[in-house]
Amino acid sequence: MTAASPSELMTIVSSRLLCDGTVCFVGIGIPSKAATLARITHAPNLILIYESGTIGARPETFPLSIGDGELATTADTVVSTMEVFSYWLQGGRVAVGFLGAAQVDRFANLNSTVIGDYAAPKVRLPGAGGAPEIAALAAETFVIIKHDKSRLVEKVDFVTSAGFLDGGGARQQKGICNSGPSVIITDLCCFRPDSETKELIVTQLHPGVTREDVRNATGWEVTFGDDLFETQPPTETELATLRELELRTELVQSGSGE
C-alpha cells in the first residue's frame, strides 16, 4: 500500500481521538471523514450530529455536503435546523465539536470569514456557518487544518470562532464555559493548549516530521512540549478502510445524481 497522503494522515490521526460512545457535532470535509472512519473502525457507537439536523447519522460513504440524503436515511432522527442548534447543541448534548478552518492562530482562534479586512476583503471565505456556536457550546473542540504558514498564523485576520482569544483566562472571562479547543490536528503534528498560557504547544510529531519542518511551516515561534512523542503511523487497517470509503464515495458520487 502507498504511504498515507497528508490529508489521509490528518484524517486517521483525527479519527483516533474519537472515543466510542462520544456525541460528536461534525462539520463537513475531513471532520466528517474522520468521524465516519472512527465509527467504522474502533468506535461503532460514535454518535454523529450534523447541522442539517441528522442525529445519529451512520453514513457509509463520505457526504459531499452536510445535508446529503444518506445522512437523513441513516440517522436515528432528523430534526429541524432550529432544533439541532437549540435543543441539541446549545442544550449541552455535544461532547466534541469537530471543526475545520481557513486559519488558526497561536491561541487557537479560528477564522473562516475573510482574509484581509472585513469591509474590503482580499479573500472572502464562506463564513461562520455553525462554527462559533459549536466552538462555544460543545464540551471541547477538535480542529483540523492543513499545516502551512498562511494558515497557522500568529493572529487570525478575523476571529470567527473564539479559541482562547488573547490566551490565559481570556476565554473564561468572556463567559464561555466549555473547555474550548483541546487539540489542533495538522498534517505535520498535533498541538494542544498549554494549561496556563493557552498557547498552542506541539505535543506530537507525525512520522518523519522534524521540529524544523514544523517551525518552518508555522506562523509563530513554536514551542514543543516536554513530553513530545511521535504519532503512531497509520495502520494497514486504517489506511485500507479510509481508501475503501473514498472509493465507495467516488463510485456513488460519480453519477449525475439520477
Binding site: G67, Y118, V123
Partner: protein, 279 residues
C-alpha cells in the same frame, strides 16, 4: 385547486423589486426553479435571505438580482467558493451588495423569532467572535434571573418565503420530509409563501407528526417536478454532486458564467434544464 399557478405567474404576482425574499432549503429541497424564474423576470434590488446562499444565490447575485444578503455560510459545500458571491463582495460586480452576516444558530433564532411573532431571538451565540464588531444587528440582553449576558438577533420576517416540497394535495396542504431545515419557520415568518412541489396528490399520506404546512398558510403553489435540481428531493431524485463540482469552473469567470446562464436559464429551456442532467 385555486392556489395553483404556473410558476412564472406565482413569482410575478408575489415578488416585487426591493422585496426581502428567503428561498430556503438546507442542502435538500433548494427551490432552484423558483430562483431561476426570479432571474428570468429580472427582479431587482432584492434582500436575499438564506443560511447557505449555495449555487442558487450565486446565480441570482451574478445576474444582478441582489442588493443585500443576510446569510451565515456562503460556500459551495464540499467544493469551495461561490465565485459570483465573492466577486460581488470583493469587487462589487455586477453591483455592490450589502451583507448582514450571522452564524447558523443566529439565523435559525432569527427565523424562529419571525415565525413566533417575537421581535428578536436569543441564543448563547458568537461570544468572542469578531462578527459582533462588524454587524450592528448583533446585540445582547441580560437574563433577568441569572444576570448572564446572552446574544440577541433581530427577527427575520421576509416579504416572501419560497420553498420546495415533495408533495401537496389539491387543496394546497404541503408535505415535506427528510432534511426539513428551516422551511416551516420561514414559511410562518413570511408575509407571503410560494411553494413549488414535485408532485400533486389527491390526499397527503403524511404521518402523524410530519412537517405539513397547511394550505391556508400558503399564498401560491406551482407544480414544478425537479424544481429543486441540482439539489435533491428525498424520495424523488438525488443531489447532483457532479453539477455542484462543475459549478466551480462555470462560475469562476464572469464570461463563462454569463454564457452558461444565458444558455441554460434565460432560454427557458425547461426540458434541458430539468432533464436527466443539468449539463
Amino acid at each position: 385547486m385555486s392556489k395553483y399557478y404556473p410558476l412564472a405567474d406565482a413569482i410575478q404576482t408575489h415578488i416585487r423589486d426591493g422585496d426581502c425574499v428567503a428561498l430556503e432549503g438546507f442542502t435538500h429541497l433548494i427551490p432552484f426553479a423558483a430562483g431561476h424564474e426570479i432571474i428570468r423576470q429580472k427582479i431587482r434590488d432584492l434582500t436575499l435571505v438564506r443560511m447557505t446562499p449555495d449555487l442558487i444565490y450565486d446565480q441570482m447575485i451574478g445576474m444582478g438580482c441582489a442588493r443585500k444578503i443576510i446569510f451565515s455560510w456562503g460556500g459551495n459545500p464540499g467544493v469551495g467558493s461561490l465565485h459570483r458571491f465573492r466577486d460581488a463582495v470583493e469587487n462589487q460586480y455586477p453591483n455592490e451588495i450589502e451583507i448582514d452576516e450571522r452564524s447558523h444558530a443566529a439565523m435559525t433564532a432569527s427565523y424562529a423569532a419571525g415565525a413566533s411573532g417575537l421581535p428578536f431571538g436569543m441564543l448563547r451565540g458568537f461570544v468572542g467572535s469578531d462578527l459582533v464588531d462588524h454587524n450592528p444587528n448583533l446585540k445582547s440582553i441580560d437574563c433577568p434571573y441569572t444576570g448572564e449576558r446572552l446574544a440577541a438577533v433581530p427577527a427575520i420576517r421576509p416579504d416572501v418565503a419560497v420553498i420546495h416540497a415533495q408533495q401537496a394535495d389539491k387543496i394546497g396542504n404541503v408535505h415535506l420530509w427528510g432534511i426539513i431545515g428551516v422551511q416551516k419557520e420561514i414559511a410562518l415568518a413570511a408575509k407571503r409563501v410560494i411553494v413549488t412541489v414535485e408532485e400533486v396528490v389527491d390526499k397527503l399520506e403524511a404521518p402523524a407528526n410530519a412537517c405539513v404546512i397547511p394550505a391556508w398558510v400558503v399564498t401560491a403553489i406551482a407544480h414544478v417536478p425537479r424544481g429543486a435540481k441540482p439539489s435533491y428531493a428525498h424520495g424523488y431524485y438525488e443531489r447532483d454532486n457532479g453539477f455542484y463540482r462543475s459549478w466551480d469552473a462555470i462560475s469562476r469567470s464572469r464570461e463563462k458564467f454569463s454564457e452558461w446562464m444565458n444558455e441554460h436559464i434565460m432560454s427557458e429551456n425547461f426540458e434541458a434544464l430539468y432533464g436527466k442532467s443539468m449539463l
